[in-house]
């Protein structure tokens, strides 16, 4: 079972460990990094085929000279044998007060010019992304195709 491979013990969302429990309290393994599988939340053909085939995209590279990606970061993913860029619009890792936390790591696929492949985003998008702060990518068109902000 997947549970046997990833021992996730219970901790409050910020990862502070309960010191006096006798069970193992490793924090949640919820970083987005290379080999992480993401969930495509736009209506692009490629994304839809990948999710239906049970082959979600895997992160290959995180842009921005860092090893961990979070909401608002661009990544390179391997999806159905292709390399594609993607933009993370939701993460399982909590980001702090007033920033939403999702149950899955959500991805919107981009083409090489940084434009979204689909024409609608089916999941709610965090409102703080509207600040459009990624130095590597201008994702105004991506915000335009979002249906709901949270």
């Amino acid at each position: 079972l997947g549970a046997a491979l990833r021992i996730q013990a219970a901790v409050p969302a910020t990862g502070c460990c309960v010191c006096r429990n006798w069970i193992s309290t490793t924090p949640r393994l919820d970083y987005i990094q290379r080999r992480t599988r993401l969930r495509v939340v736009d209506n692009s053909e490629l994304g839809r085929r990948a999710m239906e085939a049970g082959k979600p995209p895997r992160v290959m590279h995180v842009y921005g000279k860092k090893l961990k990606a979070a909401t608002g970061d661009m990544v390179m993913v391997a999806i159905l044998g292709q390399k594609r860029r993607g933009f993370i619009v939701g993460a399982r890792r909590p980001e702090g007060p007033l920033r939403p936390q999702f149950d899955s790591n959500n991805l919107v696929l981009l083409n090489d010019e940084g434009q979204p492949l689909g024409n609608r985003i089916l999941a709610p998008v965090p409102s703080f992304l509207r600040a459009n702060r990624n130095p590597k990518l201008d994702y105004t068109k991506l915000l335009a195709i979002a249906t709901k902000f949270v």
Binding site: L1, G2, A3, R6, Q8, A9, A10, V11, P12, A13, C16, C17, V18, C19, R20, N21, I23, R28, V41, G90, P94, G96, P97, L98, R99, P100, Q101, F102, D103, S104, N106, L122, A123, P124, S127, F128, R130, A131, T147, K148, F149, V150
Partner: protein, 361 residues
């Protein structure tokens, strides 16, 4: 040594179940070693240094006049006095004295101001002045915005200031699954399903970015937190954004929702069977586990921790501190009610004047 409060344990409901025949000793602050006060000089050392050094007459600090002018407080004496009066500290100590003389506090105060309890932390890390200032700031914020009583399991609608939103306000409705921390930094987490995707947002209760907190349904659950809803069917945390608030009475006890949730099949985000949750359907939960895991869960729930007196002793707020905190809050609560009455009178006067001037009734 991270600070812990009553809600930071995953689920302490089973820990506090009374064990017949066992008496947990009353925890008094004097039972621990006396708190180390910063800048406190033991009398022996002070006497020795006084004897060694030449006698210096007590008076204003020996500093040039220019420095004294720069570092003098900019507030007028009246403003400082007002600040001390509102904070409950200072040479006056009037509210502290009033709190000491205060009789037992009504139970609704303990429901409304759960975050006024001091944190459960070693005495070395607690500062009564900081706690007093927190309480004063909390009550000052409550003059601006109405913060309702709510518990884990209640449904809330929170509006926050958002410069990117079209109306500059971002509203979210959700089920409260977690309440953490104490004092001014109290947080609560709301969970809801939006467009088939579950979202959790953490809010700081006293954040000035919050425009309004509206209680839609007052309810309690069997657990301190509902983190297991992450592994439960989404129907348990789907709340419509246009939900109509349900009326409730302050005098009634908070209704308890004794629902037992059936989790999804594993893998889970956490070993839910090892934390003593009462709100999970345990038979259904154990059906997913191997015999070894079930034995472990049952052994864990037999709860040697109920008999661990030291654990219970350390994980409680000292009763005199808790009493003082609630009495302090109660005095400020009464001032808050007066303030609200005054505001209402002023606004009704205003509307009278306006109606007279405009000729409307």
């Amino acid at each position: 040594h991270p600070a812990r409060d009553a809600t930071s344990a995953i689920s302490s409901s089973w820990q506090l179940r009374p064990v017949p025949g066992l008496q947990v000793p009353l925890r008094l602050p004097s039972d621990r070693r006396p708190p180390v006060r910063r800048f406190a000089c033991p009398a022996s050392i002070a006497a020795a240094s006084a004897a060694a050094s030449p006698a210096v007459p007590p008076g204003p600090p020996l500093a040039p006049a220019g420095i004294a002018r720069v570092y003098k407080p900019r507030l007028s004496p009246e403003a400082m006095k007002e600040f001390w009066r509102l904070s409950g500290i200072g040479p006056d100590h009037s509210r502290a004295k009033a709190a000491d003389q205060q009789a037992e506090v009504p139970p609704e105060i303990k429901r409304l101001y759960q975050e006024a309890l001091p944190p459960i932390v070693s005495q070395d890390y607690r500062d009564p002045i900081v706690e007093s200032l927190h309480r004063a700031e909390m009550m000052r914020r409550r003059r601006v915005i109405n913060i309702p009583e709510f518990h884990v399991g209640s449904i809330l609608a929170v509006s926050v200031m958002d410069k990117h939103a079209p109306n500059k306000v971002n509203r979210f409705v959700g089920l409260c699954i977690l309440r953490r921390h104490t004092g001014l930094f109290t947080t609560f987490t709301l969970r809801n399903m939006v467009d088939q995707v579950c979202v959790q947002i953490e809010y700081e209760l006293y954040s000035p970015s919050i425009v309004s907190i509206q209680l839609l349904k007052l309810e309690r659950r069997l657990d301190d937190n509902l983190l297991y809803l992450m592994d439960a069917p989404h129907s348990h945390c789907t709340i419509p954004f246009d939900m109509v608030p349900e009326p409730y009475s302050r005098n009634d006890p908070v209704p308890v929702n004794r629902e037992r949730v059936r989790l999804n099949p594993p893998p889970w985000m956490c070993k839910w069977h090892l934390h003593g949750y009462q709100g999970i359907d345990l038979e259904h939960l154990y059906s997913y586990l191997s015999d070894k895991d079930v034995a472990k869960a049952i052994e864990f729930s037999k709860a040697y921790k109920r008999y661990d007196l030291l654990d219970q002793y350390l994980n409680r707020v000292p009763v005199p501190d808790a009493d003082y905190a609630f009495k302090d809050i109660f005095i400020q609560h009464q001032e808050l009610l007066q303030h609200q009455q005054q505001q209402q009178q002023q606004s009704s006067k205003k509307s009278e004047v306006i109606s007279k001037l405009t000729g409307t009734v």
